[in-house]
């Protein structure tokens, strides 16, 4: 089997102009311009919120984590050496926050009666705009099917698969966020993709939904 080679990802999500704008905002925020940081927060708020939601399945927890991520980012902005890595750095903070969240949740479960714990695993039901029964069912099925597929992946494979296909991060961004080399990221993703290729149930569900 031929393993993926190390190669710098050249493809960027943002156009060059957008990247320049973000870099300028990062530099201005580092120089103390609060409005620039708020612009950056506006730019990436939904991405970080969705990232947290995919991993917690709870709107309120995702909202809390997102706020925490930006508060931490503002405090530690001086430590960011390359303005080009802002998005990846933000995701790195978010990954750590989500890990902390799950760790705390595990700890509280130890001291909670089982009856109280039942509600924690349920998907979030409190939304300001009701998605309707079809959307709820679709969401629920997607969560079930994707969780079933990802249960077959290792912890690292799952994280990388989610960052690549749920959060749409590039290889270099994933490598920065997880502080690993690009070749390691590609190797893990290769394994995840091989499992994805053979998961006919998940793929059938995806095809059925797109039809």
């Amino acid at each position: 089997m031929r393993m993926p080679t190390t190669k710098t990802e050249t493809k960027q999500t943002n156009p060059a102009g957008e990247n320049d704008k973000i870099q300028a905002w990062v530099k201005a925020a580092q120089a103390g311009q609060r409005t620039s940081f708020e612009r950056l927060a506006d730019r990436y708020y939904s991405a970080i919120y969705r990232m947290a939601y995919y991993r917690t399945h709870n709107r309120m927890d995702a909202e809390d984590i997102t706020q925490d991520v930006f508060a931490k980012a503002f405090k530690g902005l001086g430590r960011l050496t390359d303005a080009n890595h802002f998005k990846a750095w933000l995701f790195q903070i978010a990954i750590n926050r989500v890990r902390d969240f799950h760790r705390r949740k595990k700890l509280t479960r130890l001291f909670k009666p089982l009856a109280d714990d039942a509600g924690d695993t349920q998907p979030d039901q409190f939304e300001t705009t009701s998605p309707g029964p079809y959307e709820l069912l679709r969401r629920q099925r997607f969560q079930q099917e994707s969780e079933k597929f990802m249960a077959r992946l290792s912890k690292t494979e799952k994280e990388i698969f989610m960052l690549r296909f749920f959060d749409q991060l590039q290889f270099n961004e994933i490598a920065t966020a997880l502080q690993r080399s690009e070749s390691t990221i590609k190797t893990h993703l290769y394994r995840a993709l091989a499992k994805f290729k053979h998961d006919h149930q998940f793929r059938e569900f995806l095809k059925g939904d797109s039809a």
């Binding site: 708020y45 919120y49 679709r138 969401r139 997607f142 590609k186 994805f196």
Partner: protein
């Protein structure tokens, strides 16, 4: 593991195409361009992976919040205090303690009430005594004396006893039942 232009792409090559198409050999690229079944296999995988993102995006709720930094001017007193160096904080604490103790020692209980009375009711004591004397000497109003035709009357203690006789065994009297006082 390489494929000739006639062989279909292996699973490894299919996945390689998804991961990084530039890593594929020229043979594989040529085969992919010519072979519709291999192209369908790659496109199907690609479409499924794209559908993962589309569904994830569609089924996640919209965020209602936004991040705003706290205003730089809304620092709480506590945070200002906590941010100060230790020495100024100790000095400020000592001054505050000294002021509180000093104020507690200087203010005597009830002093504030006296000052209120002094402010509103300052009366000359001599004038007050002369008014009292006048009232004692003329217990009856001039109109009353004129009515009973007693304007020239010498109102002394005996006269008063005539008007208001002393009741010896009056239980309302202050001397009633006092030890050593004769009630008979």
């Amino acid at each position: 593991m390489t494929a000739t232009s006639n062989d279909h792409l292996t699973e490894d090559q299919l996945l390689q195409k998804l991961l990084d198409p530039s890593d594929l050999s020229d043979n594989c690229k040529a085969h992919l361009a010519a072979c519709s079944s291999c192209r369908i296999a790659v496109d199907s995988l690609h479409a499924d992976l794209h559908q993962v993102h589309t569904l994830a995006l569609a089924t996640s709720p919209k965020s209602v919040g936004q991040f705003r930094l706290p205003s730089a001017h809304t620092k709480s007193v506590f945070s200002i205090w906590a941010g100060m160096p230790l020495f100024p904080r100790l000095v400020a604490s000592a001054i505050a303690l000294f002021l509180v103790i000093g104020a507690a020692l200087l203010i005597k209980p009830g002093q504030e009430n006296i000052s209120v009375y002094e402010a509103g009711y300052t009366v000359d004591p001599d004038q007050l005594l002369s008014e009292i004397d006048e009232l004692v000497e003329t217990p009856f109003a001039p109109e009353f004396l004129l009515t009973i035709s007693a304007t020239e009357m010498d109102i002394d203690e005996d006269f008063m006893k005539t008007i208001v006789p002393i009741i010896e065994n009056d239980p309302m009297s202050r001397t009633w039942g006092k030890k050593g006082e004769s009630l008979c």
